[in-house]
Amino acid sequence: MSNAGDYLTFSLGKFSFGIIATDVLELNKNLSVTHVPKSPETVRGIANLRGQLVPAIDMYKRLGLDNTTGQQETIAIILKSKGMVVALLVDSVGEIISLEDDTFEPPPPNFPEMSRELVFGVHKLTSRLLLMLDHTKIIQGINVSKKQALIN
C-alpha cells in the first residue's frame, strides 16, 4: 500500500490522526447517538443519519486511549468501510492534507498493541506527528473484541 495520498486529519486529546480522505462521506456535528445496551464497549451506540442507522464508534475506547479532556467528542466522521457506513466520534477535525511517501515511517516497536492493530504508520510533519489509521481495521477489530467479550 502506498502511503501517499489525501488524508483527513482529526484529533483525539493530544493525538493527531490521519485517515484516507477518499472513503470519508461527510462530517457531522449534531449526531445524536442512542446507546445500545450490551453492545461491544467500543460501540457507543446507534445514530440516525438521514434515515440510515449507523453505528457510532467510540474512538477513544477503540484506540485504547483515555479521554482526559473530560468532554464529549464534538464531531463525527462518517465514512464507508468495506461497504458499511460508520460514524467515528472524535474531538475535532482538521484540514485535508496531501502526504508524500518520504515523510512516512512504520510504527515504532514500542507502540501499544491496541493501537498497533489500527495504526499502520506515522507521517512526520513539521509541527507534529500524524498517526495513520487503517479504517478497514476499525470495524474488523470490533467483531474480534466482541468475541473476546463472549469468551470472558
Partner: protein, 769 residues
C-alpha cells in the same frame, strides 16, 4: 466467455420465471391435454430458454431444451398426444433445466456432465417410441393423479389468478428480447400479447427498499416541517407545506403498494408440490384456492412460503387418508385441501384446511407420554385442544418412521417460530376424524407496525404491540403479595395466577435497581412462544406506528433487540425482541422446568370461561363486555368531544371516532353527570374497520366468567344476561343489540346507511359464543 455478469443475472431471473410458470402450465396441461394454446405457451417458453442458452453458449442446457422442444413441437402439431409418461418426462426435463440454471447461478458457468439419457428418452418419445420400464421417475407415474375432480381446482386457480396480474406470466410472454430467435407462435397468441397493456417492469429489490427508506424519511421530515406552518402564519408557506404534506402521504401509500404482492405468487408453486407429494404418498388430493389475489408484503411472502409448504406436506402425509381408507369411511376418494386467504382486521388470514383424518390425538398423547412430556394421569385430564399444544414442541413427531416427507420432528415448532418471527400467530382446529383446519394470522406488512413505547432509565424502548397481552399497574404496598420469588425467578400475581417477571433494567444491564416494597410498578404482560411474562419498565409512554430498521452487523450479537426505529424528532429508539429476551434470560428454561400454574390448567378445562372486561356505568355498578369486543381502551378529555350533527365524535388517530354513551342504551343505567370535568373512559370497538367509542363510567379489570350465563329474564334493553361471580351479579351487555339500536337511530337521522347488517350479526354471534 465474455458474458457480462449483468446479462447473465438477467438471464437467470428470466429463466426462473419461465420455469415457475412452466411448472404451473404443465400441471394444468395434464388436466386439459387438449389445450392447444397452453401447449403453444409451453413450447414458446422452452424455445425462449433454448434461444438464450444458445446465446450464452450453454451447450448442455441448449441440448436439453432442444430435445424438450422437439417433443413439445410434436405435441403442438397434434402428431403426438400428451399422456402421463410424456408429462412426467417433461417435468423431469424442467427439473434438469432448473438444476443447470442453479449451477450457472452459483458458478457463472455450466456444470459438468450431460443429460444423454434424458435427451434420448425425449427424442424417443418424440419419435413415437414408448419408453421401457426402467425409468427412475416411474414411481411418479404409477399412481394416476385425480383427473376428474381436479378440473374444479383448475378453474379455481385460473379464476383466482386472472384478476391479479401474476408477475411471472406476463414476463414469460413478454420475454422475447432482441437476442432471441423470432418466436414461433400461433397467430391468436400474438393478439393476446398486444392486448396486454400494463407491462410490469423489473426493478431491483434493493432499489425498492432504498426508495421505501427515503419515503419513510421524508414522512419524518414532513412531520418536522408541519409545526412551522402553523407557527409562521404565512399563507403561501402554509399552502406549500400542505401540498408537501399531501404529496408525502400519497407517496408513502403508493410506495407501500409496491411492496405488496398477491399471495398467488407463492401459491402457484403448490399445484406442482401437491401433485408430487400426493403421488409419492399414493394419495389423491385436490387443491382449492380462494383469495389468491390477497396482497401482502413481499418480505412476509418469503417468510411464509416454507411454513406453508410444510403445512401442506403435513396435510397430505398425515392428514389425508389413502383412497381406500377414504372410500371405507364414506368420504370421496379424492381428498381436498383448501387454501384460503383474506384480510381481516388489518391482518392477513391464511386458512389451510383438509378433509382428512385430522390430528391423531391418541397418538399425540402416547408420544407425549413416551417422550416424558406429560404423565399418564395428567394426560387423562387434558382436552384435545391442550393436546394440540404438544404438536408445537420442538422435536415432537408422531411419525415413527422418518420419511423424506416428514417424521423428523422439526415440524410444527419451526412453523410456529417462523410465523411468530414475523409477528403472526397460528391456530389449529382439528375435530377428531374431520380434518384439520390451520389458521395463520400474519400482519399485512413488516415495514410499519404499532408499538408501545416504554422508558427504562434514560432511554425509550419500543415493544411490538402484537406481543403485548395487557398492561398492569401494580401497587406493591397495597397488593397483598407484591413481588415474590419462585425458585430464583421474580413472579407476581395476576388474577390469582403466577406470572414470571423480567426487569428491563436488569435484562439490559442498565442498572441493578429492584423496586422497593411500596413502589408502584408498571408491567407489560408479554406473550412469546406460548409463554406469558411480565416486563417491568419505569414508565409507559405512548403508542406509535414505527418503521422497523435492522441494527446492522455490529450489533448482530444482540438478542434483546429486533431492530430500531427513528422517531419523529430524529432520534433513534430500540425495538425490543420479546422472544429473544425471554430466551436470553433463562426464563423459558426455568418455566419449562417448573410450570408455574400446573393446577390452573385442569381447572380451566372443566368450566369453559370467556374473558370479559368489567366496568361501571352510572346506576349499574358491575357491567361487563366480552373482551373480544374491546379493541382498545382510551380516555378523552371532555373538551376533545365535538359534534357531528347530533352525534358526539372525537378525533382518533387520523380519523374520527363516533361516541356511543352506553348508559343511554341500557335499561337500569342512569344518565351521566353532565357537568363532570373528568376524562371520559371509552372502549374502542371496531365495526367494519371503523372505531366506535363506547363511553363507560369507570373501567375495572378483566374477569373470567363462565360461558353459560343467565338469560336476561324479562327482555332487558341492551343486556345479554347476567352472571354471578364471587357473589356479585354482573350484567353482560349485548353489543349487537346496542349497535342495532344505534343504527336504527342513525338511519333515521341519515348519518350513514344501514348496509352491513348481516356481517355485523355474524361478528356478534362469534363474540357471544
Amino acid at each position: 466467455m465474455d458474458n457480462t455478469d449483468e446479462i447473465l443475472v438477467e438471464f437467470i431471473i428470466e429463466a426462473r420465471e419461465i420455469l415457475d410458470q412452466l411448472d404451473l402450465d404443465f400441471v394444468l396441461l395434464e388436466k386439459t391435454p387438449d389445450d392447444k394454446k397452453l401447449v403453444g405457451n409451453i413450447f414458446r417458453a422452452i424455445h425462449t430458454l433454448k434461444g438464450s442458452s444458445g446465446f450464452f453458449a450453454f451447450k448442455r442446457l441448449e441440448k436439453v431444451t432442444h430435445a424438450g422442444e422437439t417433443l413439445l413441437g410434436k405435441i403442438r402439431d397434434g402428431s403426438l398426444e400428451l399422456d402421463k409418461q410424456k408429462t412426467s418426462l417433461l417435468l423431469v426435463t424442467l427439473d434438469a433445466v432448473r438444476e443447470i440454471i442453479a449451477a450457472i447461478e452459483a458458478t457463472n458457468a455450466e456444470p459438468e456432465g450431460d443429460n444423454t439419457q434424458l435427451i434420448e428418452d425425449l427424442l424417443n418419445l418424440a419419435n413415437g417410441v414408448a419408453l421401457a420400464e426402467k425409468k427412475p421417475d416411474e414411481a411418479m407415474v404409477a399412481v394416476p393423479p385425480p383427473v376428474e375432480p381436479a378440473k374444479e381446482a383448475v378453474t379455481q386457480i385460473s379464476e383466482a389468478a386472472s384478476p391479479a396480474p401474476p408477475p411471472p406470466e406476463p414476463a414469460t410472454i413478454a420475454t422475447p428480447s432482441p437476442t432471441h430467435a423470432p418466436v414461433v407462435a400461433a397467430p391468436e397468441l400474438r393478439v393476446e400479447v398486444a392486448q396486454d397493456v400494463a407491462q410490469p417492469v423489473k426493478v431491483n429489490l434493493d432499489l425498492l427498499d432504498k426508495l421505501m427508506n427515503l419515503v419513510s424519511e421524508m414522512v419524518l421530515a414532513r412531520n418536522r416541517l408541519l409545526p412551522f406552518a402553523t407557527d409562521f402564519g404565512d399563507h403561501h408557506f402554509t399552502g406549500a407545506v400542505r401540498t408537501i404534506d399531501l404529496l408525502t402521504q400519497e407517496l408513502q401509500e403508493r410506495m407501500m403498494m409496491t411492496r405488496m404482492q398477491p399471495i398467488s405468487q407463492i401459491w402457484s408453486k403448490f399445484s406442482r408440490l401437491i401433485r408430487d407429494v400426493s403421488n409419492e404418498c399414493g394419495k389423491q388430493v385436490n387443491l382449492i384456492q380462494e383469495g389468491a389475489d390477497t396482497e401482502l408484503d413481499r418480505t412476509l411472502l418469503d417468510a411464509i412460503r416454507d411454513p406453508l409448504v410444510h403445512i401442506i406436506r403435513n396435510c397430505i402425509d398425515h392428514g389425508i387418508e389413502t383412497p381406500e381408507q377414504r372410500t371405507q369411511l364414506g368420504k370421496p376418494a379424492t381428498g381436498q385441501i383448501l387454501l384460503k386467504a383474506s384480510h381481516e382486521n388489518g391482518m392477513v388470514v391464511i386458512q389451510i384446511a383438509d378433509d382428512g383424518g385430522g390430528v391423531d390425538f391418541d397418538l399425540v398423547c402416547k408420544k407425549a407420554i413416551e417422550k416424558r412430556l406429560l404423565t399418564a394421569e395428567h394426560a387423562l385430564t387434558l382436552t384435545d385442544m391442550q393436546l394440540l399444544e404438544y404438536i408445537f414442541l420442538p422435536g415432537f413427531s408422531t411419525k415413527s418412521v422418518v420419511t423424506n416427507l416428514s417424521g423428523r420432528g422439526v415440524g410444527m415448532d419451526v412453523v410456529k417460530t417462523n410465523i411468530a418471527k414475523i409477528g403472526g400467530s397460528i391456530e389449529i382446529d382439528s375435530p377428531r376424524g374431520q380434518g384439520t383446519n390451520i389458521c395463520l394470522k400474519i400482519p399485512l406488512t413488516l415495514a410499519v407496525m404499532p408499538a408501545l413505547f416504554v422508558r427504562c432509565e434514560d432511554e425509550r424502548y419500543a415493544i411490538p404491540q402484537n406481543s403485548i397481552v395487557e398492561m398492569v399497574r401494580l401497587d406493591l404496598a397495597h397488593d397483598s403479595t407484591g413481588l415474590e420469588d419462585f425458585y430464583g425467578l421474580p413472579v407476581f400475581r395476576l388474577r390469582n395466577k403466577l406470572a414470571p417477571l423480567l426487569l428491563l433494567n436488569h435484562q439490559l444491564n442498565l442498572s441493578q435497581k429492584f423496586p422497593g416494597k411500596d413502589a408502584v410498578v408498571n408491567i407489560a404482560l408479554l406473550q412469546s412462544g406460548g409463554i406469558q411474562f411480565g416486563l417491568l419498565v419505569d414508565e409507559v409512554l405512548n403508542m406509535q406506528e414505527v418503521v422497523v430498521k435492522p441494527l446492522g452487523p455490529l450489533f448482530s450479537g444482540s438478542t434483546d433487540f429486533a431492530g430500531a426505529t427513528i422517531l419523529g424528532n430524529g432520534s433513534v429508539a430500540l425495538i425490543l425482541d420479546v422472544a429473544g429476551m425471554a430466551n436470553n434470560s433463562s426464563l423459558v428454561a426455568k418455566i419449562q422446568a417448573r410450570p408455574l400454574n400446573p393446577v390452573q390448567i385442569t381447572v380451566e378445562a372443566t368450566v369453559e370461561q370467556i374473558p370479559m372486561l368489567l366496568f361501571e356505568l352510572p346506576g349499574l355498578e358491575f357491567t361487563a363486555i366480552p373482551l373480544e369486543c374491546v379493541d382498545r381502551l382510551e380516555s378523552f378529555k371532555v373538551e376533545k368531544i365535538q359534534k357531528n350533527g347530533k352525534r358526539e365524535v372525537v378525533q382518533y388517530g387520523n380519523g374520527l371516532m363516533h361516541l356511543l354513551r352506553l348508559n343511554e342504551y341500557i335499561d337500569g343505567a342512569s344518565p351521566m353527570p353532565i357537568q363532570s370535568q373528568e376524562p371520559l373512559s371509552v372502549i374502542a370497538h371496531y365495526v367494519n374497520g371503523l372505531p366506535m367509542g363506547l363511553v363507560v363510567g369507570k373501567v375495572h379489570d378483566i374477569i373470567q366468567v363462565p360461558k353459560i350465563m343467565q338469560e336476561a329474564s324479562s327482555q332487558q334493553r341492551g343486556l345479554k344476561g347476567c352472571v354471578i361471580l364471587n357473589g356479585r351479579v354482573i350484567n353482560v351487555i349485548d353489543v349487537q343489540e346496542i349497535l342495532r339500536m344505534r343504527r336504527t337511530q342513525d338511519s333515521e337521522i341519515m348519518v350513514y346507511p344501514d348496509n352491513e347488517q348481516s356481517e355485523l350479526a355474524v361478528i356478534d354471534w362469534k363474540m357471544v359464543q
